[in-house]
């Protein structure tokens, strides 16, 4: 079930990317279906995770970083990296959210901190 996190990270990535590049919208749908499959403990029915793993490793190969491409191409490595990215993104998002709440309560400019 925990292996749904890589798909969730990809869904979030494509959600943002599809705002600027509409051609990525289909990946949001595919990624979401994959996320649900993995949440239920099943294999991804559309092979979305395998396709993304391949796309990412080929991207590194195109940028002349084949060693990283081969590393990411390994299923286990890809899952670990994406879960790590997911955890980091969550920590950063929570931190920024807390900061936003703090600044909404005490705007820095009111206390003269921002120097304006």
């Amino acid at each position: 079930m925990i292996f749904c996190i890589p798909c969730l990270v990809l869904v979030l990535y494509f959600l943002v990317a599809s705002v600027f590049f509409p051609k990525y919208r289909i990946y949001v749908k595919d990624g979401w279906m994959c996320f649900i499959d993995k949440l239920k403990g099943k294999d991804c029915s559309l092979s979305f995770d395998n396709k993304m793993r391949l796309a990412l490793s080929v991207w590194f190969a195109e940028k002349n970083m084949p060693a990283i491409g081969r590393f990411i191409g390994n299923k286990r490595n890809f899952t670990i990296v994406m879960m790590f990215v997911g955890v980091i993104l969550t920590i950063v998002s929570v931190f920024l959210f807390i900061l936003m709440i703090k600044f909404l309560r005490n705007p820095p400019c009111d206390t003269g901190v921002c120097g304006l």
Partner: protein
């Protein structure tokens, strides 16, 4: 992104003309073909017309055609039906190692039931060794089963010669023509074929319908027992809509065969000529004796599944081998039988064209594939 479909060997889209022909038989002319009332007799008439159309493609008598649910069922019926009906005559069956899984697994199952099964060796092109075939025939041989054209590498077997050998030795000859029916000429009488398998979804007909030609006089037991449908050889309420579709698909295939075949050969040859320019790449199967629409390549240092997935992301639908076996991690049994090493067999790509393939589609594939291969090779641990 436009999808370019190059997996016609796996299945084909239903032709609009076929779909129109089928439509009335779902909700208007929905009678059971065994019923005596007018709706039933109407369905029966449509069934028999379809039977004539399917028979005419292979120049058979309509009474020698039975409809099944699929090519797999037809092959199972042919092998198991003949084996059990003739076990008083003998228990020896000969086939090849490059048959479709449904033939191979039927043969393996028969072996467990006490039958002897021998496999005729094939050469590097997948062609059957006719001399070895004659050597393998024994007094108790009851059936030879050799596919007309291989679904993976496209090689066309010398079935006329095999039919002649079978007839000389008084052995039944079955051929799985799922890939060749409606695409190349077949004459069951001239080729001495006793049983032939065909299915609809390979010729722009619906899935779920197959046919088996059984020459009059062949001793065969049915697989399905019941109401005695299909001359007592395949009991089950007939899929009238599907069969009508099969008939229409067969009619269209027969009419357009020559012109379509020439067009597909041109497309195939363009594909082969250009793809072979890629380094460390070769064509699998016979260079000339191959299906008009089939091209199968092996690429060194590449894994076929990645190749297919990457091509899919570029909008190209292809396959590594048989769709029926695509979930298995084992290398293709066909490619290993023709002598490829496992890592070479894993790096294969099958491209099969069809009625709706255009020159522009082929040009796009030729443009995209070299870059795909180049990038995947950069990632290969084998290079």
């Amino acid at each position: 992104m436009k999808k370019i479909y190059l997996d016609y060997a796996a299945t084909t889209p239903v032709d609009k003309r076929v779909l129109e022909e089928m439509k009335p038989y779902f909700s208007e002319k929905y009678g059971n073909a065994s019923s005596l009332h007018s709706l039933g007799t109407e369905a029966k008439r449509a069934l028999e017309e379809a039977r004539e159309k399917v028979a005419s493609v292979i120049k058979a008598n309509p009474k020698e055609i039975i409809f099944t649910s699929s090519g797999t069922e037809s092959n199972n019926t042919a092998l198991k039906g003949v084996a059990f009906a003739n076990r008083d005559k003998g228990k020896h069956i000969i086939t090849t190692p490059i048959e479709h899984d449904c033939v191979l697994n039927s043969a393996r199952w028969l072996k467990k039931q006490g039958f002897d099964v021998d496999f005729i060796p094939v050469d590097k092109y997948g062609l059957v060794d006719l001399e070895k075939l004659e050597e393998l025939i024994r007094k108790d041989t009851i059936l030879i089963s050799v596919m007309h054209a291989n679904n993976e590498i496209g090689t066309i077997e010398p079935i006329k010669e095999i039919g002649k050998i079978a007839k000389e030795h008084d052995v039944y000859f079955h051929t799985d023509a799922a890939q060749s029916y409606g695409k190349i000429d077949i004459d069951v009488k001239k080729m001495n074929i006793d049983l032939i398998t065909a299915n609809a979804h390979k010729i722009y007909g619906p899935k779920g319908v197959g046919a088996l030609f059984i020459r009059e006089g062949v001793k065969i037991d049915p697989l399905l027992h019941g109401g005695g449908h299909e001359f007592g050889l395949r009991s089950s309420t007939e899929n009238v809509a599907g069969i009508v579709g099969f008939g229409k698909a067969a009619e269209i295939a027969k009419k357009e065969m020559r012109g379509e075949s020439e067009r597909l050969i041109k497309l195939r040859n363009t594909l082969i000529e250009n793809i072979l320019k890629i380094d460390d790449c070769w064509l699998n199967g016979h260079p000339d004796k191959r299906l008009p629409n089939n091209a199968n390549f092996s690429f060194r240092f590449i894994e076929g599944e990645s190749l297919v997935m990457y091509l899919d992301m570029q909008g190209i639908c292809a396959s590594t081998g048989s769709a029926c076996s695509s979930k298995s991690l084992e290398p293709s049994h066909v490619l290993t039988a023709i002598g490829l090493k496992p890592e070479e067999a894993h790096g294969s790509l099958r491209l099969t064209t069809g009625r709706f393939t255009t020159k522009e589609d082929i040009d796009y594939v030729i443009e995209v594939l070299p870059n795909v291969v180049k990038n995947l090779r950069k990632l290969s641990p084998l290079k």
